[in-house]
Subunit: 136 residues, 2 copies
Amino acid sequence: MPYTIGEVSKMLDLSVPTLRYYDKEGLLPLLERTESGVRKFNDIDIENLKIVECLKASGMPIKDIKIFIDRCGEGDSTLKQRYDMFIERKAAVEKQIEELEKIKETIEYKCWYYKTALDAGTEDVHKQIQLKSKDH
Amino acid sequence: MPYTIGEVSKMLDLSVPTLRYYDKEGLLPLLERTESGVRKFNDIDIENLKIVECLKASGMPIKDIKIFIDRCGEGDSTLKQRYDMFIERKAAVEKQIEELEKIKETIEYKCWYYKTALDAGTEDVHKQIQLKSKDH
DNA sequence: CTACAAGCTAAAGTTTACTCTAGGTCAAGC
DNA sequence: GCTTGACCTAGAGTAAACTTTAGCTTGTAG
């Protein structure tokens, strides 16, 4: 039933050393081992890893993710802190999306700028455009 | 007319060492100096820095930004490459936004999950909900 | 004229998140 | 019985993007 580290590596597209690193950092507190020390990944560990990946993708550093994982193990007394953390993460992600939208606009302007220059065969076309505008 | 490194630092919210680092990496090829070696930032350098910041925010590494800056100095022969680069950047940013939207949804689910648990006073409420669903 | 804030350089140090290396164990197939 | 592939550990190494340090120069205000 449980998965080996190699299987999980393929399932979640994380390298085997990365999974071991996460374990060493304490991000997989429930992970079990065989008698001989081989890691056994259960569904709960896979779910844990998905949350880790989500928090990481939201821009959270590993050491903060560990704080969250630790709180999960402390039971209901940390519910409020964990709730607040996700609210804060939501705001962080929204801010990132907003910034990327602005970046996208700037890049789209540059796409237009270079398309125009390319059609004209020279970047000078933009100097011409500016002069023409001033002439009016 | 030109700005000092300290002024630019405040204007663009980049540290003075960061600006010197960018210069050292070749991201400011047009930057002039006074006779005694003090950097003079002209408007063109400020514009350059804004593009650098834009590309950086799009996820481009410094060494690739340098390649772009170098091409800018090579004239119209590199127009196509520069155009293609912005097209590619646009796609990269769109992909990032898309991924963040997904991450946001997962986080919003977690916000709901913890709000519900918080209201109930215990995370167990979610186990109850699952059992109830199964009962029907 | 002197203090001192702001500029300069080269080079070493920092942080984060892995990745790699060396050396060892173990279970299964031939 | 032995080889092979997948697992294990500890610890060193890497890459990116700065940041810090140490020591020096310069221009302006009092």
